[in-house]
């Protein structure tokens, strides 16, 4: 595939002008359109990171499938984790339309070259963590993802539409887990509260560094990949979860939270970005475990991939011969 040679007698300048025109008109860029290299690279990085996050994200929750407290919760959790696998695959496909191979992306993840969301480098020691992940982590993901449905790159936007449809169940099941625990025995209530205390700040940090320290945001917004800034999305999320926490009968571990009449938003406290950067650099509680597990699963599956490919090749040959 000749990706970046504008065909049919369009000069590079004309091609760029057409690209800008499409973006300005709020239309979508499709795989075979000409696009600037930086746009392609930004998308490959963002979409593959997003895909990796969905795949790695299966681990902290998969951790509880065998120990879910009832058959119903087990079935729900399996369906959710299976959805996350699906999300990863939709996104890998979207990234592939930009010219990067699936095997390459897997390799980049396993080698540690590619990043994924830091949130999945935290442990899930209690059942309430499955509730907190659904409510806060999927909740934050939804805030991030809904505007991405309108991302200027067609295949990315379409993958996000499919993902968002499935996410709402994820958030609700998490909320329900916490609600039941919160209304249960004192020990159950405390377990829910302790878990929310741990997940609150990391969930807020999922939106990325403050706008002032997010140098690539402006370009992404100009390209209409991103529609809202990190801080805007974070604020939207805080405004959502404060009233929800009241319904849950749980508190958020942030004394600075209060309604700001003037702004029409909830104020909230500063976040510990040093911790965020530590986790990002690979020094979080579970970074090495997550990658180790992913690598092992990939290695363990090697014989299946090879056998299936060999079988397909033989069938092909027989079909050709007959």
């Amino acid at each position: 595939m000749a990706k970046n040679t504008p065909s049919f007698a369009l000069s590079e300048q004309e091609a760029l002008a057409r690209f800008d025109e499409i973006i300005a008109a709020d239309e979508r860029i499709e795989p075979s359109d000409w696009m600037p290299d930086a746009y392609r690279k930004t998308l490959i990085r963002q979409i593959s990171q997003h895909a990796h996050s969905e795949i790695i994200g299966m681990q902290p929750e998969g951790n509880w499938i065998t120990r879910a407290p009832s058959l119903k919760r087990k079935a729900i959790l399996m369906a959710k984790v299976q959805d996350e696998a699906g999300h990863g695959l939709y996104l890998y496909s979207a990234a592939q339309t930009l010219g990067i191979g699936r095997d390459q992306m897997t390799e980049d993840l396993i080698s540690g070259k590619a990043k994924y969301s830091s949130i999945f480098n935290y442990h899930t020691p209690t059942w309430a963590d499955i509730g907190s992940i659904g409510w806060l982590v999927d909740g934050a993901a939804i805030c991030n993802q809904v505007p991405l449905c309108r991302a200027s790159y067609g295949p990315y936007g379409r993958a996000m539409v499919r993902i968002c449809k499935e996410e709402s169940f994820h958030q609700r099941q998490g909320f329900e887990i916490l609600l039941h625990l919160s209304r249960g025995s004192k020990a159950q209530h405390d377990m829910a509260q302790e878990s929310v205390n741990r997940w609150y700040a990391p969930a807020l940090m999922m939106f990325g560094p403050p706008d002032a320290q997010s140098p690539n945001s402006a370009q992404s917004m100009a390209w209409k990949i991103k529609r809202f800034s990190n801080d805007d999305l974070r604020q939207r999320f805080v405004d959502m979860i404060v009233p929800q926490s009241e319904v849950l009968g749980l508190t958020l571990p942030d004394r600075a939270i209060r309604w700001n009449e003037k702004r029409g938003h909830f104020d909230y406290g500063d976040l510990d970005w040093d911790e965020f950067n530590e986790v990002l650099k690979g020094r979080g509680p579970a970074n090495s475990i997550r990658l180790e597990r992913r690598k092992q699963a990939h290695d363990d599956g090697a014989w299946v991939r090879e056998a299936a490919a060999a079988y397909a090749a033989r069938e092909n040959k027989e079909a050709m011969a007959s």
């Binding site: 595939m1 000749a2 504008p6 065909s7 049919f8 369009l10 091609a15 499709e30 795989p31 075979s32 359109d33 000409w34 369906a79 299976q82 959805d83 699906g86 695959l89 939709y90 496909s93 592939q96 339309t97 010219g99 990067i100 191979g101 699936r102 095997d103 390459q104 295949p155 379409r158 993958a159 499919r162 499935e166 991939r305 299936a308 490919a309 079988y311 397909a312 069938e315 092909n316």
Partner: protein
């Protein structure tokens, strides 16, 4: 001309998936996936694209078999219908107000 998505160096080829949501509707493009052969492509497509009753029938097509028109050639390629508004019912205004027409 190029095929949508997919690079040559992956272990398994890429397939495009089309799903018929219910009887009476066309198969619509749902997305793509990797699989070693058509049979497994169908099974993977079922697991990936119809976990919530989204379909009653699936087509899978090797991505490499799809030929697309050149997007840069768009203007010339789709030129013919332009300026032919008479191909639309809305062109014929004199029948305005006449019933069942």
């Amino acid at each position: 001309m190029s095929s949508p998505g997919g690079t040559e160096h992956d272990t398994w080829p890429l397939w495009e998936v089309f799903v018929r949501a219910s009887r009476g509707l066309s198969h619509l493009h749902a997305g793509s996936l990797h699989a070693p052969d058509a049979e497994l492509a169908l099974r993977n497509a079922r697991d990936l694209y119809t976990r919530r009753n989204e379909g009653v029938s699936i087509w899978v097509v090797p991505s490499s078999e799809i030929t697309t028109s050149d997007p840069d050639e768009k203007d010339a390629f789709f030129e013919s219908p332009k300026g032919k508004r008479y191909r639309h019912a809305s062109y014929y205004t004199e029948a305005e107000g006449v019933k069942h027409l």
